[in-house]
Protein backbone atom coordinates (compact mmCIF):
# COMPACT_ATOMS: atom_id res chain seq x y z
CA UNK A 1 0.00 0.00 0.00
CA UNK A 2 2.74 2.35 1.05
CA UNK A 3 4.78 1.50 -2.02
CA UNK A 4 1.90 2.24 -4.32
CA UNK A 5 1.43 5.59 -2.67
CA UNK A 6 5.09 6.43 -3.22
CA UNK A 7 4.97 5.42 -6.86
CA UNK A 8 1.85 7.48 -7.28
CA UNK A 9 3.49 10.51 -5.78
CA UNK A 10 6.57 10.12 -7.93
CA UNK A 11 4.40 9.82 -11.00
CA UNK A 12 2.48 12.87 -9.99
CA UNK A 13 5.70 14.86 -10.17
CA UNK A 14 7.17 13.08 -13.16
CA UNK A 15 4.32 13.49 -15.61
CA UNK A 16 4.16 17.28 -15.57
CA UNK A 17 7.93 17.40 -15.64
CA UNK A 18 8.06 15.31 -18.81
CA UNK A 19 5.34 17.45 -20.34
CA UNK A 20 7.32 20.57 -19.50
CA UNK A 21 10.49 19.22 -21.05
CA UNK A 22 8.55 18.23 -24.14
CA UNK A 23 7.02 21.69 -24.42
CA UNK A 24 10.46 23.14 -24.03
CA UNK A 25 11.93 21.16 -26.89
CA UNK A 26 8.93 22.09 -28.99
CA UNK A 27 9.71 25.73 -28.56
CA UNK A 28 13.39 25.16 -29.18
CA UNK A 29 12.71 23.55 -32.48
CA UNK A 30 13.56 26.44 -34.71
CA UNK A 31 13.13 25.78 -38.41
CA UNK A 32 15.91 27.56 -40.25
CA UNK A 33 14.24 26.96 -43.63
CA UNK A 34 11.16 28.69 -42.36
CA UNK A 35 12.76 31.51 -40.40
CA UNK A 36 16.30 31.92 -41.72
CA UNK A 37 19.51 31.20 -39.82
CA UNK A 38 19.06 31.07 -36.06
CA UNK A 39 22.42 32.45 -35.07
CA UNK A 40 22.42 36.22 -35.11
CA UNK A 41 24.48 37.96 -37.77
CA UNK A 42 27.11 40.29 -36.37
CA UNK A 43 28.89 42.97 -38.35
CA UNK A 44 32.32 44.29 -37.51
CA UNK A 45 32.56 46.92 -40.26
CA UNK A 46 32.47 49.86 -40.41
CA UNK A 47 32.02 49.66 -36.62
CA UNK A 48 32.18 46.68 -34.31
CA UNK A 49 29.20 45.06 -32.71
CA UNK A 50 26.01 45.42 -34.79
CA UNK A 51 23.55 42.57 -34.49
CA UNK A 52 20.73 41.30 -36.68
CA UNK A 53 18.45 38.48 -35.61
CA UNK A 54 16.43 36.51 -38.19
CA UNK A 55 14.54 34.88 -35.36
CA UNK A 56 13.14 38.14 -34.10
CA UNK A 57 12.32 39.54 -37.54
CA UNK A 58 10.78 36.43 -39.11
CA UNK A 59 9.47 34.23 -36.34
CA UNK A 60 8.48 36.92 -33.88
CA UNK A 61 7.66 39.93 -36.03
CA UNK A 62 6.30 37.75 -38.86
CA UNK A 63 8.29 39.23 -41.74
CA UNK A 64 8.68 37.26 -44.96
CA UNK A 65 11.98 36.42 -46.54
CA UNK A 66 11.28 38.51 -49.57
CA UNK A 67 10.79 41.66 -47.59
CA UNK A 68 14.54 41.69 -47.33
CA UNK A 69 15.93 39.13 -49.75
CA UNK A 70 17.39 39.82 -52.10
CA UNK A 71 16.47 43.43 -52.71
CA UNK A 72 17.75 44.91 -49.48
CA UNK A 73 20.11 42.22 -48.33
CA UNK A 74 21.91 39.36 -50.01
CA UNK A 75 21.62 35.91 -48.48
CA UNK A 76 25.16 35.91 -47.32
CA UNK A 77 26.37 37.06 -43.95
CA UNK A 78 28.88 39.85 -44.31
CA UNK A 79 27.91 40.78 -47.87
CA UNK A 80 26.62 44.19 -46.91
CA UNK A 81 29.84 44.97 -45.09
CA UNK A 82 31.60 45.14 -48.44
CA UNK A 83 29.56 48.13 -49.60
CA UNK A 84 30.91 51.58 -48.95
CA UNK A 85 27.52 52.94 -48.09
CA UNK A 86 26.71 50.41 -45.37
CA UNK A 87 26.43 53.14 -42.80
CA UNK A 88 23.94 55.21 -40.86
CA UNK A 89 23.76 57.90 -43.52
CA UNK A 90 22.43 55.38 -46.02
CA UNK A 91 20.01 53.98 -43.49
CA UNK A 92 18.58 57.40 -42.80
CA UNK A 93 18.06 57.56 -46.57
CA UNK A 94 15.99 54.37 -46.45
CA UNK A 95 18.62 51.85 -47.46
CA UNK A 96 19.49 48.58 -45.67
CA UNK A 97 17.86 48.39 -42.26
CA UNK A 98 16.56 51.90 -42.86
CA UNK A 99 14.10 50.52 -45.40
CA UNK A 100 11.92 49.52 -42.49
CA UNK A 101 13.58 51.26 -39.56
CA UNK A 102 12.22 54.63 -40.56
CA UNK A 103 10.26 55.44 -37.44
CA UNK A 104 7.06 54.37 -39.12
CA UNK A 105 7.17 50.69 -40.00
CA UNK A 106 9.72 49.95 -37.29
CA UNK A 107 11.55 52.16 -34.82
CA UNK A 108 13.80 54.67 -36.56
CA UNK A 109 17.46 53.94 -37.17
CA UNK A 110 18.22 57.34 -35.71
CA UNK A 111 16.89 56.22 -32.34
CA UNK A 112 17.61 53.57 -29.75
CA UNK A 113 21.12 53.03 -31.05
CA UNK A 114 21.94 50.26 -28.61
CA UNK A 115 19.21 47.89 -29.81
CA UNK A 116 21.16 47.21 -33.01
CA UNK A 117 24.57 48.15 -31.65
CA UNK A 118 25.37 45.67 -28.93
CA UNK A 119 28.92 46.94 -28.99
CA UNK A 120 32.20 45.24 -28.21
CA UNK A 121 30.89 44.23 -24.82
CA UNK A 122 27.75 42.70 -26.30
CA UNK A 123 29.70 40.66 -28.81
CA UNK A 124 32.11 39.44 -26.17
CA UNK A 125 29.19 38.37 -24.03
CA UNK A 126 27.57 36.53 -26.96
CA UNK A 127 30.74 34.75 -27.94
CA UNK A 128 31.50 33.90 -24.35
CA UNK A 129 34.65 35.95 -24.22
CA UNK A 130 34.11 37.93 -21.10
CA UNK A 131 35.59 41.33 -20.70
CA UNK A 132 37.82 40.94 -17.67
CA UNK A 133 39.02 44.50 -17.42
CA UNK A 134 36.71 45.20 -14.56
CA UNK A 135 37.03 42.01 -12.64
Amino acid sequence: MKRIAIIFIILAFLVPAVCLVAADTDENEYDEDLYGPEAPIIWEKPVRGVIFSHKRHTMEFGLDCDECHDEIFEMEAGAAEEYDDFNMEAMYDGKYCGACHDGDYAFAASSRCTTCHIGVRGVERLTGKSDDKNH
Partner: protein, 250 residues
Protein backbone atom coordinates in the same frame (compact mmCIF):
# COMPACT_ATOMS: atom_id res chain seq x y z
CA UNK B 1 13.96 96.94 -0.94
CA UNK B 2 15.43 97.45 2.49
CA UNK B 3 16.47 93.85 2.68
CA UNK B 4 18.31 94.13 -0.58
CA UNK B 5 20.22 97.12 0.66
CA UNK B 6 21.11 95.29 3.80
CA UNK B 7 22.38 92.34 1.88
CA UNK B 8 24.55 94.56 -0.21
CA UNK B 9 25.91 96.22 2.85
CA UNK B 10 26.79 92.91 4.36
CA UNK B 11 28.47 91.77 1.22
CA UNK B 12 30.60 94.84 1.14
CA UNK B 13 31.58 94.17 4.70
CA UNK B 14 32.87 90.73 3.89
CA UNK B 15 34.57 91.89 0.77
CA UNK B 16 36.72 94.24 2.77
CA UNK B 17 38.88 91.35 3.83
CA UNK B 18 40.59 90.38 0.64
CA UNK B 19 40.15 86.74 -0.16
CA UNK B 20 43.90 86.31 -0.37
CA UNK B 21 44.26 87.56 3.14
CA UNK B 22 41.49 85.34 4.38
CA UNK B 23 43.07 82.41 2.66
CA UNK B 24 46.43 83.20 4.17
CA UNK B 25 44.92 83.39 7.60
CA UNK B 26 43.18 80.07 7.18
CA UNK B 27 46.32 78.52 5.83
CA UNK B 28 48.23 79.65 8.87
CA UNK B 29 45.64 78.29 11.23
CA UNK B 30 45.53 74.93 9.58
CA UNK B 31 49.25 74.73 9.13
CA UNK B 32 49.62 75.01 12.87
CA UNK B 33 47.10 72.31 13.59
CA UNK B 34 48.55 70.07 10.95
CA UNK B 35 45.33 69.46 9.12
CA UNK B 36 45.81 72.08 6.43
CA UNK B 37 43.79 71.13 3.42
CA UNK B 38 44.95 73.61 0.85
CA UNK B 39 43.56 77.02 0.04
CA UNK B 40 41.39 75.70 -2.75
CA UNK B 41 39.73 73.07 -0.61
CA UNK B 42 38.85 75.33 2.25
CA UNK B 43 38.40 78.82 0.90
CA UNK B 44 34.80 79.85 0.76
CA UNK B 45 34.43 80.78 -2.88
CA UNK B 46 34.48 77.26 -4.37
CA UNK B 47 32.18 76.11 -1.61
CA UNK B 48 29.34 78.25 -2.88
CA UNK B 49 30.17 76.94 -6.30
CA UNK B 50 29.69 73.41 -5.00
CA UNK B 51 26.43 74.29 -3.38
CA UNK B 52 24.98 75.59 -6.60
CA UNK B 53 22.26 73.25 -7.77
CA UNK B 54 23.64 73.07 -11.28
CA UNK B 55 26.56 70.85 -12.16
CA UNK B 56 27.66 73.30 -14.85
CA UNK B 57 29.45 76.38 -13.53
CA UNK B 58 27.32 79.53 -13.65
CA UNK B 59 27.81 81.65 -16.73
CA UNK B 60 30.97 83.70 -16.62
CA UNK B 61 32.37 81.80 -13.63
CA UNK B 62 35.01 79.74 -15.32
CA UNK B 63 38.24 79.26 -13.47
CA UNK B 64 40.34 78.55 -16.53
CA UNK B 65 40.96 79.86 -19.99
CA UNK B 66 40.56 77.77 -22.02
CA UNK B 67 38.31 75.95 -19.57
CA UNK B 68 38.67 72.55 -21.23
CA UNK B 69 35.76 70.23 -20.80
CA UNK B 70 34.09 67.34 -22.55
CA UNK B 71 30.45 66.67 -23.18
CA UNK B 72 29.35 63.06 -23.58
CA UNK B 73 26.15 62.62 -25.56
CA UNK B 74 25.52 59.35 -23.87
CA UNK B 75 22.58 57.87 -25.80
CA UNK B 76 24.61 57.90 -29.01
CA UNK B 77 27.40 55.72 -27.68
CA UNK B 78 27.47 52.34 -29.44
CA UNK B 79 30.50 50.86 -27.63
CA UNK B 80 32.51 50.45 -30.84
CA UNK B 81 35.55 51.36 -28.72
CA UNK B 82 37.23 53.30 -31.49
CA UNK B 83 37.86 55.99 -28.88
CA UNK B 84 39.62 53.53 -26.60
CA UNK B 85 41.78 52.29 -29.46
CA UNK B 86 42.66 55.82 -30.52
CA UNK B 87 43.52 56.78 -26.96
CA UNK B 88 45.71 53.74 -26.44
CA UNK B 89 47.56 54.40 -29.67
CA UNK B 90 48.02 58.11 -29.15
CA UNK B 91 49.04 58.00 -25.54
CA UNK B 92 51.09 54.82 -25.45
CA UNK B 93 48.69 53.09 -23.08
CA UNK B 94 49.77 49.53 -22.23
CA UNK B 95 47.46 46.57 -22.78
CA UNK B 96 46.70 46.17 -19.07
CA UNK B 97 45.62 49.76 -18.60
CA UNK B 98 43.24 52.31 -20.00
CA UNK B 99 42.70 56.05 -19.77
CA UNK B 100 39.17 55.86 -21.06
CA UNK B 101 36.71 53.01 -20.99
CA UNK B 102 33.14 52.24 -21.97
CA UNK B 103 30.94 50.90 -19.19
CA UNK B 104 27.52 49.39 -19.67
CA UNK B 105 24.31 50.10 -17.82
CA UNK B 106 20.88 48.57 -18.11
CA UNK B 107 17.58 50.21 -17.57
CA UNK B 108 14.06 48.75 -17.56
CA UNK B 109 11.82 50.18 -20.25
CA UNK B 110 8.19 49.61 -21.23
CA UNK B 111 6.92 46.20 -22.32
CA UNK B 112 9.10 44.30 -19.86
CA UNK B 113 12.17 45.10 -21.91
CA UNK B 114 15.51 46.55 -21.08
CA UNK B 115 17.61 49.10 -22.81
CA UNK B 116 21.36 49.19 -22.81
CA UNK B 117 23.22 52.39 -22.09
CA UNK B 118 26.90 52.64 -22.86
CA UNK B 119 28.69 55.02 -20.58
CA UNK B 120 32.08 56.34 -21.66
CA UNK B 121 34.27 57.24 -18.69
CA UNK B 122 37.55 59.09 -18.45
CA UNK B 123 39.29 61.47 -16.08
CA UNK B 124 36.79 64.18 -15.17
CA UNK B 125 39.47 66.86 -14.74
CA UNK B 126 37.57 67.90 -11.66
CA UNK B 127 37.57 71.47 -10.49
CA UNK B 128 38.30 70.16 -7.03
CA UNK B 129 40.30 67.04 -7.80
CA UNK B 130 40.64 64.65 -4.84
CA UNK B 131 43.69 63.05 -6.45
CA UNK B 132 45.54 66.38 -6.49
CA UNK B 133 44.79 67.10 -2.87
CA UNK B 134 46.16 63.79 -1.62
CA UNK B 135 49.38 63.58 -3.66
CA UNK B 136 52.26 64.03 -1.20
CA UNK B 137 54.75 65.22 -3.81
CA UNK B 138 52.53 67.27 -6.18
CA UNK B 139 53.36 64.79 -8.89
CA UNK B 140 49.82 65.47 -10.05
CA UNK B 141 48.33 68.93 -10.19
CA UNK B 142 45.64 71.01 -11.82
CA UNK B 143 47.06 73.12 -14.60
CA UNK B 144 46.40 76.76 -13.88
CA UNK B 145 45.60 77.82 -17.41
CA UNK B 146 43.70 74.87 -18.85
CA UNK B 147 42.35 73.13 -15.76
CA UNK B 148 43.77 69.84 -17.02
CA UNK B 149 44.84 67.48 -14.24
CA UNK B 150 48.39 66.62 -15.23
CA UNK B 151 51.05 64.17 -14.08
CA UNK B 152 54.78 64.55 -13.64
CA UNK B 153 56.00 60.95 -13.95
CA UNK B 154 59.42 61.63 -12.47
CA UNK B 155 57.90 62.95 -9.27
CA UNK B 156 55.52 60.04 -8.68
CA UNK B 157 56.55 57.88 -5.73
CA UNK B 158 53.92 55.26 -6.52
CA UNK B 159 52.04 55.47 -3.23
CA UNK B 160 48.81 55.16 -5.23
CA UNK B 161 46.87 57.42 -2.90
CA UNK B 162 45.56 59.29 -5.93
CA UNK B 163 44.16 56.01 -7.24
CA UNK B 164 42.25 55.37 -4.02
CA UNK B 165 41.16 59.00 -3.89
CA UNK B 166 39.76 59.15 -7.41
CA UNK B 167 36.01 58.53 -7.30
CA UNK B 168 36.05 57.57 -10.97
CA UNK B 169 38.75 54.91 -11.28
CA UNK B 170 40.47 57.09 -13.84
CA UNK B 171 44.05 56.27 -12.84
CA UNK B 172 46.26 53.24 -13.22
CA UNK B 173 49.85 52.44 -12.43
CA UNK B 174 51.98 52.26 -15.54
CA UNK B 175 54.76 49.73 -15.10
CA UNK B 176 56.80 51.19 -17.92
CA UNK B 177 58.21 54.32 -16.31
CA UNK B 178 56.69 53.42 -12.95
CA UNK B 179 54.16 56.17 -12.44
CA UNK B 180 50.44 56.65 -12.22
CA UNK B 181 49.08 57.40 -15.67
CA UNK B 182 45.84 59.09 -16.53
CA UNK B 183 43.98 61.02 -19.22
CA UNK B 184 45.31 64.53 -19.76
CA UNK B 185 43.00 65.44 -22.63
CA UNK B 186 45.92 64.45 -24.90
CA UNK B 187 47.71 67.59 -23.78
CA UNK B 188 51.24 66.42 -24.43
CA UNK B 189 50.44 64.36 -27.50
CA UNK B 190 47.95 66.58 -29.34
CA UNK B 191 46.72 69.81 -27.75
CA UNK B 192 50.16 71.24 -27.08
CA UNK B 193 51.01 70.58 -30.75
CA UNK B 194 48.16 72.69 -31.98
CA UNK B 195 45.40 70.10 -32.26
CA UNK B 196 41.97 71.31 -31.27
CA UNK B 197 40.57 68.06 -29.92
CA UNK B 198 41.58 64.86 -28.20
CA UNK B 199 42.23 61.52 -29.90
CA UNK B 200 39.03 59.94 -28.60
CA UNK B 201 36.92 62.83 -29.85
CA UNK B 202 38.43 62.63 -33.31
CA UNK B 203 37.97 58.88 -33.42
CA UNK B 204 34.33 58.79 -32.31
CA UNK B 205 32.15 57.98 -35.35
CA UNK B 206 28.90 58.75 -33.57
CA UNK B 207 29.70 62.24 -32.36
CA UNK B 208 29.32 61.12 -28.77
CA UNK B 209 32.29 63.04 -27.40
CA UNK B 210 32.49 66.78 -27.84
CA UNK B 211 35.52 68.68 -26.59
CA UNK B 212 36.15 72.35 -26.18
CA UNK B 213 36.46 75.49 -24.13
CA UNK B 214 33.51 75.94 -21.83
CA UNK B 215 34.47 79.56 -21.23
CA UNK B 216 33.90 80.30 -24.90
CA UNK B 217 30.17 80.87 -25.27
CA UNK B 218 30.40 80.12 -28.98
CA UNK B 219 31.91 76.69 -28.42
CA UNK B 220 29.95 73.54 -29.03
CA UNK B 221 30.42 72.32 -25.47
CA UNK B 222 28.94 75.54 -24.18
CA UNK B 223 26.06 75.23 -26.59
CA UNK B 224 25.36 71.61 -25.65
CA UNK B 225 25.37 72.39 -21.96
CA UNK B 226 23.05 75.34 -22.40
CA UNK B 227 20.48 73.96 -24.79
CA UNK B 228 16.93 74.58 -23.63
CA UNK B 229 15.02 71.66 -22.13
CA UNK B 230 17.96 69.34 -21.75
CA UNK B 231 19.28 67.57 -18.74
CA UNK B 232 22.98 67.70 -17.96
CA UNK B 233 24.53 65.49 -15.34
CA UNK B 234 27.92 64.45 -14.01
CA UNK B 235 29.00 61.19 -12.42
CA UNK B 236 28.91 60.82 -8.67
CA UNK B 237 28.14 64.50 -8.00
CA UNK B 238 27.95 63.96 -4.24
CA UNK B 239 31.69 63.48 -3.90
CA UNK B 240 31.97 67.21 -4.51
CA UNK B 241 34.78 66.84 -7.02
CA UNK B 242 33.03 69.09 -9.57
CA UNK B 243 33.78 67.23 -12.80
CA UNK B 244 34.46 68.89 -16.13
CA UNK B 245 33.12 65.93 -18.09
CA UNK B 246 29.41 66.36 -18.57
CA UNK B 247 26.80 63.90 -19.72
CA UNK B 248 23.70 64.70 -21.69
CA UNK B 249 21.34 63.08 -24.15
CA UNK B 250 20.94 66.17 -26.27
Amino acid sequence: MKLKELEQLKNEGVDHISSIERRRFLKLGFLVTGVYLGGKALSLAPLTEAQAAEVVPPKGKYSYSPHYSMVIRERLCINCELCVEACNGTNDVPSYGYRTDILERRRAIVDDKYETIFMPVLCNHCNRPPCVRVCPTTATWKDETTGIVKMNPGRCIGCKTCMTACPYNARYFKEEGRFVDKCNFCYDTLLSKGAKETACVTACPADVRVFGDLADTNSRVYELLHTPETLVWVLRPKTGALPNVYYTNA
